[in-house]
Symmetry: C2
Subunit: 407 residues, 2 copies
Amino acid sequence: MRRPDQQTTTRPTPDAAPGTPPDAPPAEATGVGAHPPEPGTQGLAEATGPGAQRLADATGPRTRSLADATGAARPPDPTGSRPTGDLTTEAVLAPYLRGQAAEFLRSLRLHHEHSAPAESGGRDAAAATRALRRSARRISGCLHTFRAALDPLWADQLRAELAWLSGILAREHAYAGRLTRLVEALHQLSGPALPAARGVRAAGDSAASDLQGRAALGVGAARAGALLERRLTLARTRSHSAALQALGSSRFHAVADAVALLASDVPLAPGPAGRTAEALMEPAEHAEQRLLTAVAALPPDDTEPYNEAQDAAWHQTRLLLRLHRYAHEVVLGAADPALTGAGHALDLHRDAVEAAGAAAAAARTPRIAPATAYALGVLHADQRHEVEAARAVFRETWPYAAALSTP
Amino acid sequence: MRRPDQQTTTRPTPDAAPGTPPDAPPAEATGVGAHPPEPGTQGLAEATGPGAQRLADATGPRTRSLADATGAARPPDPTGSRPTGDLTTEAVLAPYLRGQAAEFLRSLRLHHEHSAPAESGGRDAAAATRALRRSARRISGCLHTFRAALDPLWADQLRAELAWLSGILAREHAYAGRLTRLVEALHQLSGPALPAARGVRAAGDSAASDLQGRAALGVGAARAGALLERRLTLARTRSHSAALQALGSSRFHAVADAVALLASDVPLAPGPAGRTAEALMEPAEHAEQRLLTAVAALPPDDTEPYNEAQDAAWHQTRLLLRLHRYAHEVVLGAADPALTGAGHALDLHRDAVEAAGAAAAAARTPRIAPATAYALGVLHADQRHEVEAARAVFRETWPYAAALSTP
């Protein structure tokens, strides 16, 4: 049990190793990192124009909404204790950002090596892309959370450009994953159950009707699978080209240059105010508070799967959990293990929402056979039930019961 | 916790009022009674031919399968106590059967009164039909369970004829209920959520796509609703005509004559053996034991909704629970309240299975629009998820944990 006014989990306890530079944060092991950012982040970034650096006002409405979304007061520090380690931005944040920037550049080099036409390693290139996105997300998250401790204009601009890059790079991976998910779901509902159904059922009207239905579903499922494969493979191929094009663009080279500068020199906020421990702790606690507030405001469980109106609140919670995770990495050296399950549930939630949307979109293809549309309808409903299931898992794994039970 | 080798719930405790004639058993209050018997029961009855009375070998394969389904040994009597009341067939079973027969005849009279063409009371006629089926099921169940205490040839023949009658009378009600269920489900997934979705969602690609999907689902859902209404209303009208025809047939008059005889004179088994208390207790315990065995043999929860192959085992459990219920009514004067929830879950299970089948059957209508087929696919999947939910509710409400956990 944890109430929002209890001491934050982000503030390090005296025995926690303070501020070791997290060259290799263990967070990726949970599988949470291998996912694209939301489409919304990218539209903002594009508004800043290609190659523009240190543009003022580069932050769009969504960027602000993250900061302004909750009016919740930060929790008072009930102990009055100060962390024992050296938690200044120079000792903790700057090394973290330099480490992630170096990781970004290393992944970029790997990607270039494996993307050569003579190279057979498409898988290695994909792994390099994932690593690139992973660093880009962490840098971007830190620039957001610790904006006040950094040169804010520089932070806003680089963050927008990193969001653009992450968005472009994520899509190929997302389409591939969506196709796998949907094809597996189709197999489950049409394939192996057929012989068992034939063997166990008693003869009779309804049994024959069920078998006929199952066979019809089988034909429709095969066609639906082919349709989804066509659509999502096309989308994936286009995303691949777009990613390659982006990685060759002058806009990308400007991002890479900015990250290369970051690897050696982190632009901190001017004046001594930004260099105290509070300059780290307050933003980290604020990130956590926004997450807790968002979770408390999640719609109650109504077991009605066609509540697409609620998807956005869950997606937003997923982004806030990710920001909290990265802030936790900066301050405590690793992600909060108590939130691993909840984060994984939110990723599954996002995947199911998008898979359901893909099934619905495929069903709007003109001139498809009714059997195909029927199978896509079954698929859509199944994915919406998976959405519901992911929400239930989140509620079960969310470690702070009190925050969730708030209506 | 209850193990199959514990004392049966059917055997009365000394303080239970023994064998009061249950003129108005309270069981119908659970809503369990208002459902038709399975189609299988009726095919058997037709094999006996119209108007034939006391035909030898009138029992078909399904009738036998109820008696032979479990090889489970009946539990030994651990207490050795005998019930204190007068639990002979003459004191308990015969009054129960006479009471139900009188109820049957009263309902039949009511039905004739309300079915006159000048009469506006279609609702009263429907209520009379439900009461008729209710008595028919109870008489039929007792003839099955207590066959050995009765004239067995007479019991088999009357039971087959009552099953035929129940089957015919149940269908109109079943089609009406199925249509209501499906139309409500369609409303849930297309109707009222639309404005909320429009208001809450952020603008953007996926939101627009969702709204488009919702609108497409709305069109398809409206068409699917019209298609289901057409199909099920037609089926219902046909069933209504068939029921009226059956009630005017010579076969029905023979059944009514047999029940009229039963109201005054119950044909007990010849000789004194059938008239002891054991002649009632053993069959009642046997009915309970078959239920426990069937529940223990239910397939484990696999959270996979497209397991139509398992539906039959659940339907069979529902029938066995009903037989146990009626036996409990005979011996203890009322149904076992601990099984009310489980029985209700099995009824919901049956309704959802049949609604899913109706959606799948409608989707096989030639030349329907893809949007209609899509909505029917969503509907089918939803109903199969309801099947799964009903099984979960049964597992939760089943009062004897040990029997269910047996793999």
